[in-house]
């Protein structure tokens, strides 16, 4: 579809037939397909990324079931449940933002994105409170770690994993909030239309993914094995 060799340079995208189509694509359709497929592939890499940690967790849980259950009882189940609810609602507001983009309601997009970010913020705030409690209770691994029950070493292993896994999840939340911030600004500038809103769509995929990671983390860390004594 390019009609001449010469003038096109990297600085001059050129040749775009429809507005919003980047120079390397022929049609909007192709571009949309590429960007959402790209995000799915990225999420696959994320699954493998968290998968390493989940593997380690599973191995140790299998090796030290009692110590892990004992340590698990030191987590705050009320705050964990509250946070789970917060994230599920944030997934709803994110989905509503994507829907608003698809039907072209710009104000609604901004409202829902801001709501999603706020809920993400609440989650991180609660997480910070939980971390502080652990710090006061000497449950942060390291020289000052002190565990009242049997097998303090294995419990320290549990808390090492707890902090690594929830910390990595929180890092993903922070990145997600950053992405949504950019989307809010771009939406207000009127960048997105019902025809072109795949950045909002693929960011939504990412947000849901991060929520789903938590949906796995919550039972693994807080719930399973609480009844074992």
């Amino acid at each position: 579809m390019a009609d001449a060799i010469a003038p096109a340079t990297p600085a001059d995208p050129g040749h775009a037939t429809e507005p919003g189509v980047q120079h390397q694509f022929d049609t909007m359709e192709q571009q949309r397909e590429a960007s959402s497929f790209g995000m799915w592939v990225f999420l696959v890499t994320e699954i493998l990324f968290f998968g390493g940690l989940f593997t380690v967790y599973t191995v140790y849980r299998h090796q030290y079931p009692r110590a892990f259950a004992e340590a698990s009882r030191h987590l705050d189940i009320a705050l964990g449940t509250f946070n789970t609810a917060v994230l599920i609602v944030s997934s709803l507001t994110m989905a509503l933002a994507v829907w608003s983009a698809a039907v072209g309601r710009r104000k609604a997009i901004v409202v829902f994105l801001l709501l999603t970010m706020a809920l993400g913020g609440v989650f991180l705030g609660v997480k910070a409170v939980e971390y502080t409690h652990k710090f006061h209770d000497h449950l942060v691994p390291g020289p000052s770690f002190h565990f009242p029950g049997p097998n303090p070493g294995n419990a320290e292993l549990f808390f090492s994993l707890y902090f690594t896994m929830t910390g990595l999840h929180a890092a993903h939340m922070i990145i997600g909030i950053g992405i949504l911030t950019v989307l809010v600004f771009k939406t207000r500038k009127g960048r997105y239309t019902p025809e072109y809103h795949n950045p909002i769509e693929v960011s939504g995929l990412y947000w849901h993914f991060v929520d789903i990671v938590w949906i796995f983390l919550f039972p693994l860390l807080y719930l399973i094995g609480r009844h074992i004594h």
């Binding site: 990297p10 040749h15 390397q24 493998l48």
Partner: protein, 547 residues
Amino acid sequence: MSAVTVPPVPEAPVEPRVNYLNATYGLKSWLLTRDHKRIALLYLGTVTVFFFLGGLFAVLIRLELLTPAGDLVQSETYNKLFTMHGVIMVFFFLIPSIPAVLGNFLIPMMIGAKDLAFPRLNLLSWYIYAVGGLFTLWAVVHGGVDTGWTFYTPYSTTYSNSYVIVTAVGIFITGFSSILTGLNFIVTIHTMRAPGLTWFRLPLFVWAHYATSLIFVLGTPVIAVTLLMVGVERLFHLGIFDPKLGGDPILFQHLFWFYSHPAVYIMVLPSMGVISEIVTTFSRKNIFGYKFVAFASLAIAVLGFLVWGHHMFVSGQSVYAGLVFSILSFLVAIPSAVKVFNWTATMYKGSISYRTPMLYAFGFIGLFTIGGLTGLFLASLGLDVHVHDTYFVVAHFHYIMVGGAIMGYMGGIHYWWPKISGRLYPEGWARFAALVIFVGFNLTFFPQFILGYLGMPRRYHAYPEEFQVLNVMSSAGASILGVGYLLPLLYLVWSMRYGKQAPANPWGSTGLEWDTPSPPPTENFAVTPVVTGDPYHYSPEEVEVVG
């Protein structure tokens, strides 16, 4: 680095046509480019720097091993030398080399696209690579790291006093450039193929890169998170792999090799793609068993994920796990052999011309076969116990990585050099260098098989006197190999200014990338090509345009 990547400005009257090299000028036009071809050249420059840096450490290793006594460097320094050699060569040269340079340059052209699906992500991947490289260089300058490139715990997490975190962060960051490159390739191959270019009309180079990208995408995140765990364990005194707390260092090895074994196929699969292109072009024959070669790439990628335990036969892994890993490792030989046999069958009764890329292809096939067969030795449980952690292993993986991957890389660089630079390289010098590399390589690494079999362990800076003759041979070979690698650097840079102008298709190849001028215009094709046939349609009567 920019001295290597930025070709000199061509003289105006000779090359009036606008191409990707002269479309825009200035450092900014290179550092902010989104053109996959320019990004490939940025990568070419950086991987070349890392190659020679990694080579420098190899020189020091071989100098130390000239004499049985540990006289040139302390044992601690020696530990750092082989660690830095391994880290730089594996993570900063071998893994990005063919995909990020040749794959980046050629995949869009081979599928008739204007660029990769995500050009900005492509540029980002180079910057991520560069930042990761800088972290590692920082560690090198400040005293290096001594854990071996494998970062085994608990030494790496607790005891080593070297710059483990900085190096791990460097590799962690660079991992994301691999992930982005793999992601970009997969999406591009899925969504950007020219009209008529069905999956089974794709060149085998593209198939090989597709398989490689799967490993990039599925494997790299695991090494990233594993190094993250090592990093936080060191930094925050967490205890993920700490035996004191009940942590399991063997678990680290599992996670490490889950990526690092497939990483070997990241290195060699793209090379196999290159060889498929070269062998067909210079035999003037269509590939024998196209689908077998294509699926062999995928089979290697998939099987590659199931064999990591063969690195841990003596690590205290269960015998039954060892048996399964051993059998699965033997299975990898099947698709690998399919490829070797099919290349050989392609050459059979072909009209072969002994040009430089073909010489490298011959080198690849022979050396890869030796590397692969000795891999079978190592996959057998009994024999592995005898030669584990000896020079036999070192020789084996250098036959795959240097004899295989780098031969393919050199062959590919020469084969596509006219397309990349618009100039022809000097054929005589290039043939000579290929020969020097082949001789130097074998002299360096073949004696190491014998050394290992006789029991010389790897990673020691001193050794018993009876091993000296073989070690001297190896060091002598390394110096020849070094010259062999310097020659192309010199004549290729020379050819960018003084080489003969290259025609669009100097080898008479049937690949789509040769349908466009050399060097190509920024958008690759004046008109999006429509593909109507198979990628290889050679007949013996066709002759090369050059020579």
